[in-house]
C-alpha cells in the first residue's frame, strides 16, 4: 500500500497522494478545516501553530509539541496528531491548563492561545509540577504579542496545583487504544507517494534509505525539517523527491560507553538533552537555547551538522570536543572529524549518496574544562551572532596543556582558532596571556558584518569570550554565579 496513514485526533487518516512539502498546518486548516490551530509566521518562530505529535517509542506513547507550519505531512506516518480541537473532552470539560488560562486571563487577543495551550499541555503531561525555569523553557517557542506572559505563568501554576485532582483527560484515556492503532499503521516496507511531478520516499530502514539515496543523489533528505521547512515556507522552494528519515529507528539510537557518546543522526535536541547535559553540561545548556521547545522536539543534531551552516550552534561545540561524524552510503560507512566535514561555505565533505548516520563525541577527561558561549541579541529563541566553544586543560603549573577553540559565526564555516590555540599552548593561563591572545584571534578570523552584528563587534565579543573563559576557569565565585545566572536567564 503506497499510503501515508496516521491518526488525527480520533480519526484515522489515509492519504494516497500529497505533495512532499504540504505542511501539516495548511493541511489541517485548509483541507481538514480544523482552524483552531493558527498561523502566525510559517517559520517556526511563534508557536501559534503548535500541535502534538505522538509516537510509539519502546512501547510507550510519547507526545511532543511541534510546529505544524514547518512539519511536512508525509513525515507523520504512524503518528498521532493532536490539535486544540481535541483538548477539551467530548462533554466540553476543559483540561486544567485550559481552565486556568481562561480563569486567570492567560489569553488576551487569543491568537497565540491555542499554541500556548498545546505547549503547556505537553509540559504538564511530562512534568505535572514544573518549576518556573521549566515553564520558561516550555514557552520559549511561543510568542505572545499581547505579552500576557505573567498571567500565563500564574495559569500554569494554578493548573499544576489542580493536576492531581483532575479527571483523566482524553489523551490519557485513549493511550492503549492509540498505541494499538499506531502499531497497526506502521508501514511494512518503503513507501513512495506521488503527487503530480513530485515524490515522497519514506524508507523502511537504513538499507532502503541508502539504496534510495544512491539511486537519487539529488533527493532532499528531511529529518526534523526545521531547516528544510523554511526553504519551503520562506523561500518557496519546490522540492522533489524528498526522502523522510526521522522515523528510522536505527538512526534514533543513543549509545553511551565509558569513553564516548554516540548519537544516531535523527536524535532530536530533546532526546539528546539528558545524555549531553550529563556528560557535557555546557552543551546541555546550549541545547535549551536552540529554537523553542517545538523546534527542539523536531530538529536533529545530525541535521544541524549536515546542513553545513556557518552559524549552526552545535558544530563549534562538537569541533571543540573533537567529535566525529559517520557518513554512510550504499557502499559502506566512513568517519571523519566534524571539523573536516566543513570544507568551505556551502561545501561539505559528503559524497553523492552519502548521508549522516551518527555523531560520536569523546567524553571529557576529569581535568578538561569545557565551555560554550552563545552570543545572541535576544536570549531565547535567537540565532547566534557568534558562538564559541572551548576545551581547556591546564598542567600542574597552571600552564595551558592543551586547548581547542572553535567559533561559529566568525567565518564561512564553523572553524577552529589555530593561531590562538598554538599561541596559548604552553603559556601560563593568566590575564597577560589572554590579553596577548586577543591579537591571535584576529589572525584566525575575519568575520563579516551583517544585520545581526558588525564584524568589529563579532571580533570584540570573541576576544571578550576568551576573557570570560579565564574568569570562569580561575574560579572567582561571584563571577561564576553571575555567569550561571546569565545562562539561566535570571
Amino acid at each position: 500500500m503506497q499510503q501515508i496513514r496516521f491518526v488525527l485526533n480520533d480519526e484515522t487518516v489515509v492519504i494516497d497522494s500529497i505533495s512532499p512539502t504540504t505542511t501539516l498546518l495548511d493541511w489541517l486548516r485548509e483541507t481538514k478545516r480544523l482552524t483552531g490551530t493558527k498561523e502566525g509566521c510559517g517559520e517556526g518562530d511563534c508557536g501559534a501553530c503548535t500541535v502534538l505529535v505522538g509516537k510509539v517509542v519502546d512501547d510507550r506513547l510519547v507526545y511532543r509539541s511541534v510546529n505544524a507550519c514547518i512539519r511536512f505531512v508525509p513525515s507523520l506516518s504512524a503518528t498521532h496528531v493532536v490539535t486544540i480541537e481535541h483538548m477539551a473532552g467530548p462533554d466540553g470539560v476543559l483540561t486544567p491548563i485550559q481552565q486556568a488560562l481562561a480563569d486567570l486571563h492567560g489569553s488576551q487577543c487569543g491568537f497565540c492561545t491555542p499554541g500556548i495551550v498545546m505547549s503547556l499541555y505537553a509540559l504538564l503531561m511530562e512534568k505535572p509540577t514544573p518549576s518556573r525555569a521549566e515553564i520558561e523553557i516550555a514557552l520559549q517557542g511561543n510568542l505572545c504579542r499581547c505579552t500576557g506572559y505573567e498571567s500565563i505563568f500564574r495559569a500554569v501554576e494554578a493548573a499544576a496545583a489542580g493536576m492531581a485532582s483532575a479527571t483523566p483527560d482524553r489523551l490519557t484515556l485513549t493511550r492503549e487504544r492509540i498505541i494499538a492503532t499506531l502499531n497497526d499503521l506502521k508501514p511494512k516496507r518503503t513507501i513512495r507517494i506521488f503527487h503530480g511531478q513530485s515524490r515522497s520516499i519514506i524508507p523502511f530502514n537504513t538499507a532502503d534509505l541508502a539504496d534510495a539515496y544512491a539511486t537519487e543523489p539529488n533527493a532532499v533528505i528531511v529529518a526534523g525539517a526545521t531547516d528544510v521547512g523554511l526553504w519551503v515556507t520562506k523561500q518557496m522552494r519546490q522540492l522533489s523527491p524528498v526522502i523522510f528519515i526521522n522515523h528510522l529507528t536505527e538512526l534514533q539510537t543513543i549509545d553511551e560507553t565509558a569513553d564516548k557518546v554516540r548519537l544516531g543522526a535523527v536524535v532530536t535536541y530533546t532526546q539528546a538533552q539528558n545524555v549531553l547535559a550529563k556528560n557535557f553540561p555546557a552543551l546541555g545548556k546550549l541545547l535549551i537555547r536552540i529554537g523553542g521547545q517545538q523546534v527542539r522536539n523536531m530538529g536533529t543534531i545530525g541535521g544541524n551538522v549536515a546542513n553545513g551552516s556557518p552559524i549552526g550552534d552545535t558544530p563549534p561545540a562538537l569541533i571543540a570536543l573533537d567529535a566525529t561524524v559517520t557518513l554512510r552510503s550504499r557502499n559502506g560507512a566512513r568517519s571523519l572529524a566534524v571539523e573536516d566535514y566543513f570544507i568551505e561555505y556551502g561545501k561539505q565533505a559528503r559524497e553523492d549518496g552519502e548521508f549522516v548516520e551518527a555523531l560520536e563525541i569523546p567524553k571529557l577527561a576529569d581535568d578538561e574544562f569545557y565551555a560554550i558561549y552563545k552570543i545572541s541579541k535576544r536570549r531565547d529563541e535567537d540565532i547566534s551572532a557568534l558562538c564559541g566553544a572551548f576545551k581547556l586543560k591546564l598542567d600542574a603549573a597552571g600552564n595551558v596543556a592543551s586547548i581547542r577553540i572553535a567559533f561559529g559565526g566568525m567565518a564561512g564555516t564553523p572553524k577552529r582558532a589555530a593561531h590562538t590555540e598554538a599561541f596559548l599552548t604552553g603559556k601560563p593561563w593568566n590575564e597577560a596571556t589572554v590579553s596577548a591572545a586577543r591579537a591571535e584571534l584576529a589572525k584566525d578570523y575575519t568575520p563579516l558584518s551583517d544585520w545581526r552584528a558588525s564584524a568589529d563587534y563579532r571580533m570584540l565579543a570573541a576576544q571578550n569570550l576568551l576573557t570570560r573563559l579565564l574568569i570562569e576557569t580561575s574560579g572567582e565565585k561571584a563571577s561564576l554565579e553571575r555567569y550561571a545566572m546569565l545562562e539561566a536567564g535570571e
Binding site: T35, E39, A102, C109, G110, D380, R452, A461, I471
Partner: protein, 752 residues
C-alpha cells in the same frame, strides 16, 4: 527574581457593582478551546485563495511578470496585474478620509516601497496560488531607494497626524535657552517598528450582487464600511464587516490596506468568495508601522533647576507619496513639564517605504523615550536626583495653555512607585552599584503620559420581557477585553448582573462603537452603552411610575435606582418591582434605550486630559560581555476609573513589556543599498519572549475624574509604553555611565 505583587486601589462605586471587579474574560473559553473564529478561519463555499506578489525593490517600475507561466500552473484561476486589474471605483491614490491612506491596487506599474503588492494570484487552493505567485518572477527597472535620515534634507511637516498642528509654540524657547543657567542639547534616534500583531492581516470577501460581506480583523468596524463603500462605489449599508475577534491590532487594523482592497476587488470580478492572508514578511510594508524619528531636545534650566525652555524638534521618516503621518514624537513634550517656554516642531524626511501610521502610543512612545532620557541628562547636569528634578518641574496646570488638568495624580504615582521600587538612597553618579554577583546595576525612571481622548459612539440597550438585557455596539476587542469591560459597564447601567446581559458586538450592522484606538474605546463605547442602558431604565421607570398597579406608581419625580433586575424608588427603597413584572403588565414588549457618547467640545476646551504614570527600572549588566537584563520594572499609573482591574493590569503590563521591547529589541533594519528591510520575520524582528520579562509590578493609583467623561474613565491601553523606555535607557546609563542616544540599545553600544 519574581516579585510580582500587584495592587489595585479600587474605586468607590459610583454605580452598579459590576464595574470595578476583576471579572473573568467572557471570551476566555472560546479562546482556550480554539473555537474563537478569526477572519482567516472562515471558509465560505466556493472560496478561492488569493496570494499577493510583493515588490522586492523599494523604488522603480515592474517591467515584466511571467503571467503565462503562472496561469499555466494547475489550479491557478486568475493572475491580476496592472494590465487586467480588478476594478476599484474610488481613486486609490486619493486619501478618502483622514485616517485612510493611498493604496496600491495595481493601478500602475510603479513600486513605491518594498513589499507593495505588484500582482495578485488567485487559486483553487492555497498551494496553487502560492506557486503561481512564485512563478511570476518579476523584473524591474530599479531606481535608487531613499533610505534613512540622510536621504534628503529634512523639511517642515505640513501638519501632524490626526489634524494636529506641526508646530506648537508657547513663549520663546530661544530666549529661554539663552537666559538659562545650564542647557542641554541632545539628539535621540528611534527606529521604525512594525506592529506585528500575532494575527497577520486577513480577509475573506464575499459578494452578493452589490452587497459585500467581509470577515476581517478591524478596530473601527462601522467607520471602515465607509472606506470600502468609497472604493467599491456602493452604499455603506450594503457592507457587512464581521470582526468578532482580532488577534491583536495595536493600531494597524483600523484602515483598509492595499492587499485587503485587492482581495475584495478580485472577489467581485470573479464572483466567488476570496480569502487573502498576509505572510509575516508582508506585514512589513503595506499595513502601517511606527515611523523612525530623530529628535533634538534642548532644555534650559535656571539656578533653581526650574526649566526655562523645552524645545523638541522631531524629524520623522515618512513615505514619499502620502506623508500625512510624521510620527508625532514632539507632542510628548507638550503636556508634562512646567517649562516657562515650550516649542515642539515636526519635520519629515521622505523615504521609499510604506505609509507609517499609528502604533501603540503613537508619538508618545518615541517622544517619551527621548524626552525622559533628556530630562535625566538635565537632572544629571543639575546635580539632582531625577525624581526630585521632575517634581521641581511638576506642572499643576497644563504648561503653555494654562488649562487645569481634569485630574492628575502624578505626584501620587511618583510617590507610590518610588516607594515600591525602593528608589530612595539611589546614588546620583553612575557606575556606583555592583551587586554581589558582580553585575553592574543601574536604576532609572521615566514619567508616563498619554492623552485621554474620546471619540463618538452609539449603542442600543434592550430590556427583555423576561427581565434580562441585550446590549449592542460595534466595538472591537483586540485582546484588551472589550467583550468583558464593556459588558460590565452595560450591566451596571441596566442594573443587572453580568450573566443576565447579552452583549452583541464585533459586527458592523450594530450601532457604531467607534474606533478602538487612542486608549479611548472603553470611555467612548462604554459611555454610549451607559447612556443606552440609562435610557432603557428611564423608559422602564416611566412605565412603572404611570402604572397604578405598580408599587412604584407615582414615584417618577424622585427617580429610580436599578439594581439586580429590580427598580427601586430613589428615596424610598421599600417600594420596588422586578423589571419582568413591570414589562409584563405593560404588555410584554421589550423596552429599548438608545445612547451615544462623545466629549462636548466645551469640555475639551476647559480641561487638559491625560493619564499619568511613573516607571522605575532596574537593569543588570555583565561587566565583560555587557549582556543586559531588565531585572525590575515598577509602574504606578493614574488613569481614572478602572472598570476591570485584571484587564487594566494586563494592558498596563503589556504596555510596559512593549517598553522593554522598544528599549532593547524592536527595530526594522533597512538595507541601505536596496531600501529593503532585512529582518522581515519574527526570527529577526525581535519582540519580547517570556524570558525577557521579570519582576514586573503594576500599581494603579486612585483617581476620580469628574470631567473626563460621565464614567470617569481615561484609558490604559497605551500609557504603559511611555515612561518605560526612558526609565530603561536611564538605568543603563546609571549602570555603565554610557548615554546611548538611540533605541534599541544593543550590547555592541556598550562593548565598543
Amino acid at each position: 527574581m519574581s516579585d510580582r505583587v500587584s495592587e489595585t486601589v479600587t474605586m468607590p462605586m459610583r454605580f452598579g457593582s459590576n464595574s470595578g471587579q476583576s471579572v473573568t474574560r467572557r471570551d476566555g473559553i472560546a479562546k482556550v478551546t480554539g473555537r474563537a473564529t478569526y477572519a482567516a478561519d472562515n471558509h465560505p463555499d466556493g472560496m478561492l485563495y488569493a496570494v499577493y506578489v510583493p515588490a522586492t525593490i523599494a523604488r522603480g517600475r515592474v517591467t515584466h511578470l511571467d503571467t503565462a507561466a503562472a496561469k499555466a500552473h494547475p489550479g491557478v484561476v486568475e493572475v491580476f496585474t496592472p494590465k487586467n486589474r480588478p476594478p476599484v471605483v474610488g481613486d486609490p491614490d486619493k486619501k478618502p478620509f483622514m485616517f485612510a491612506i493611498p493604496i496600491e491596487v495595481l493601478q500602475d506599474d510603479t513600486v513605491r516601497y518594498a513589499m507593495q503588492p505588484i500582482a495578485l494570484v488567485i487559486g483553487e487552493t492555497l498551494e496553487a496560488a502560492t506557486e503561481g505567485a512564485r512563478l511570476l518572477k518579476p523584473q524591474y527597472e530599479v531606481e535608487p531607494a531613499r533610505t534613512g535620515f540622510d536621504a534628503e534634507p529634512a523639511k517642515r511637516a505640513a501638519a501632524g497626524p490626526f489634524g494636529r498642528p506641526a508646530e506648537v509654540v508657547h513663549g520663546d524657547t530661544e530666549a529661554g535657552l539663552s537666559q538659562a543657567k545650564q542647557t542641554l542639547d541632545v539628539t535621540y534616534d528611534t527606529p521604525a517598528q512594525y506592529h506585528n500583531a500575532m494575527e497577520p492581516h486577513a480577509i475573506v470577501a464575499k459578494w452578493d450582487g452589490d452587497k459585500l460581506e467581509i470577515d476581517t480583523p478591524n478596530q473601527a468596524i462601522v467607520l471602515s464600511r465607509g472606506f470600502y463603500a468609497f472604493y467599491f462605489g456602493i452604499p455603506a449599508d450594503n457592507i457587512l464587516i464581521r470582526s468578532p475577534y482580532l488577534g491583536g491590532g495595536f493600531g494597524s487594523k483600523a484602515v483598509p490596506y492595499s492587499p485587503l482592497v485587492l482581495a475584495i476587488a478580485a472577489a467581485r470580478k470573479l464572483d466567488r468568495p476570496v480569502k487573502l492572508v498576509l505572510t509575516r514578511a508582508q506585514m512589513f510594508g503595506p499595513v502601517g508601522h511606527r515611523g523612525a524619528t530623530r529628535q533634538r531636545l534642548r532644555i534650559g534650566i535656571d539656578g533653581e533647576a526650574q526649566m526655562t525652555a523645552l524645545d523638541h524638534v522631531s524629524t520623522a521618516i515618512v513615505d514619499s507619496f502620502d506623508s500625512s503621518f510624521p510620527e508625532p514624537a514632539a507632542n510628548a513634550s507638550q503636556g508634562l513639564y512646567n517649562a516657562s517656554s515650550l516649542h515642539s516642531l515636526m519635520m519629515v524626511v521622505h523615504n521609499d517605504i510604506g505609509v507609517p501610521g499609528a502604533m501603540r502610543a503613537p508619538g508618545e512612545a518615541s517622544g517619551s523615550a527621548a524626552l525622559e532620557c533628556a530630562i535625566d541628562e538635565m537632572a544629571e547636569k543639575a546635580g539632582m536626583d531625577p525624581l526630585e528634578f521632575r517634581l521641581k518641574n511638576y506642572a499643576d496646570v497644563e504648561p503653555g495653555t494654562g488649562k487645569p488638568y481634569s485630574s492628575k495624580a502624578l505626584r501620587e504615582c511618583y510617590a507610590e512607585g518610588a516607594k515600591r521600587f525602593g528608589w530612595a538612597g539611589r546614588p546620583l553618579a553612575p557606575r556606583q552599584m555592583v551587586d554581589d554577583k558582580g553585575f553592574l546595576t543601574g536604576w532609572g525612571m521615566g514619567t508616563a503620559l498619554f492623552g485621554a481622548p474620546m471619540f463618538a459612539a452609539q449603542a442600543r440597550a434592550v430590556l427583555r420581557p423576561d427581565g434580562t438585557g441585550l446590549v449592542e455596539t460595534a466595538a472591537a476587542d483586540m485582546g484588551q477585553g472589550a467583550w468583558t469591560a464593556l459588558a460590565q459597564i452595560a450591566a451596571d447601567s441596566l442594573g443587572l448582573p453580568l450573566d443576565k446581559v447579552e452583549f452583541r458586538s464585533g459586527s458592523s450592522d450594530l450601532p457604531d462603537g467607534g474606533v478602538a484606538g487612542g486608549s479611548g474605546h472603553t470611555a467612548t463605547a462604554g459611555g454610549a452603552l451607559h447612556a443606552a442602558g440609562t435610557d432603557a431604565i428611564r423608559r422602564l421607570g416611566e412605565l412603572a411610575a404611570a402604572d397604578p398597579q405598580s408599587p412604584l406608581f407615582g414615584t417618577g419625580n424622585q427617580g429610580f435606582v436599578a439594581r439586580d433586575g429590580r427598580l427601586y424608588a430613589a428615596r424610598d427603597e421599600s417600594r420596588s418591582e422586578a423589571y419582568a413584572d413591570i414589562i409584563a403588565r405593560a404588555g410584554g414588549q421589550e423596552i429599548e434605550g438608545k445612547g451615544s457618547a462623545a466629549r462636548p467640545p466645551e469640555d475639551a476646551a476647559r480641561h487638559a486630559m491625560y493619564s499619568h504614570g511613573a516607571v522605575f527600572a532596574e537593569v543588570k549588566i555583565d561587566p565583560v560581555l555587557f549582556q543586559m537584563r531588565v531585572t525590575r520594572l515598577v509602574g504606578a499609573f493614574a488613569a481614572g476609573r478602572i472598570i476591570n482591574p485584571k484587564l487594566a493590569e494586563s494592558q498596563l503590563m503589556g504596555g510596559m513589556i512593549w517598553g522593554i521591547s522598544f528599549a532593547l529589541h524592536e527595530e526594522a533594519r533597512f538595507d541601505k543599498r536596496t531600501g529593503r528591510i532585512m529582518n522581515t520575520d519574527l526570527a529577526g524582528y525581535h519582540i519580547p519572549v517570556n524570558a525577557d520579562v521579570q519582576g514586573l509590578e503594576v500599581i494603579t493609583v486612585h483617581e476620580d475624574d469628574p470631567y473626563v467623561n460621565p464614567l470617569g474613565i481615561k484609558g490604559v491601553g497605551e500609557i504603559g509604553v511611555t515612561g518605560t523606555v526612558g526609565a530603561i535607557g536611564n538605568a543603563i546609563w546609571h549602570a555603565t555611565g554610557r548615554r546611548i542616544r538611540h533605541f534599541p540599545i544593543r550590547i555592541e553600544d556598550l562593548l565598543a
